[in-house]
């Protein structure tokens, strides 16, 4: 079970690094947003993985089970998912407006166009 634990942390860290890399390195506005959502998703694992108990079950109380995974992280992550998608929707709306105003969604091209306009 310890290997499982270490593995889950390893995956979490890997996803986080990959997501963050996309966010910082990429020029394309939409891809940056995708990277951001991967980065956020990795956090879900950080919270949820430690909440599981071996032999436990989902936290819906019934007479058949006596071990449940911890419900509180689930609640927090539900909220985090919603916040994530809300941010994504807003980000995309801004991207659409940027595209209409500039005709591109590449960050450096946008900066160039602003410089030319000056």
């Amino acid at each position: 079970m310890n290997q499982f634990g270490a593995l889950s942390y390893a995956i979490t860290v890997f996803l986080m690094v990959a997501g963050l890399y996309i966010v910082i390195a990429r020029n394309n506005l939409i891809k940056t947003l995708v990277g951001l959502s991967i980065f956020q998703t990795a956090v879900y694992l950080l919270y949820i993985a430690p909440a599981k108990l071996p032999g436990g079950t989902a936290p819906v109380i019934s007479a058949e089970f006596d071990a449940y995974s911890s419900p509180l992280p689930h609640v927090l992550i539900l909220t985090a998912i919603v916040v994530g998608v809300a941010t994504m929707a807003l980000g995309l709306a801004i991207v659409v407006r940027i595209y209409e105003a500039y005709g591109t969604i590449e960050e450096d091209e946008i900066l160039n166009r602003d410089r030319e306009a000056r």
Binding site: V60, V82, A89
Partner: protein, 138 residues
Amino acid sequence: MSDDLILRVVTKILIPFIVLFALYVQFHGEYGPGGGFQAGVVAAAAFVLYGLVNGLDALRRVAPESVVETMVGAGVLLYIAVGLAGIVLGGHYLDYSVLGGAPVDGQHRGIFWVELGVGITVSGVMLKVFYLFAGRRA
């Protein structure tokens, strides 16, 4: 898109079931997984499907944009109001125990209305966002 007869028939059959499923998820969330948020998403999906098949104008007749915008605000308002009801009835903010005779009844009632508020706002927002993105193309 709307010319395909099979597509129209299939969606016509499908949509009531999706709505039914949304209602199930909304009101059964206390016993199984689910709740207002998921139900809102599913319910909005039903309308989005209708809009995709029958066109945006047909959808506007079923769910006028102004109604949808009202839903966006109404859900949040409902949630906040349930909280304030707790204060009015002599408890704390969002204290559902004072909403019914026995504390557990109050909790039930509170959770029911709160989840409903979530469902209304979420489906409203999803639908509104769909309108805006889809309407932008025209």
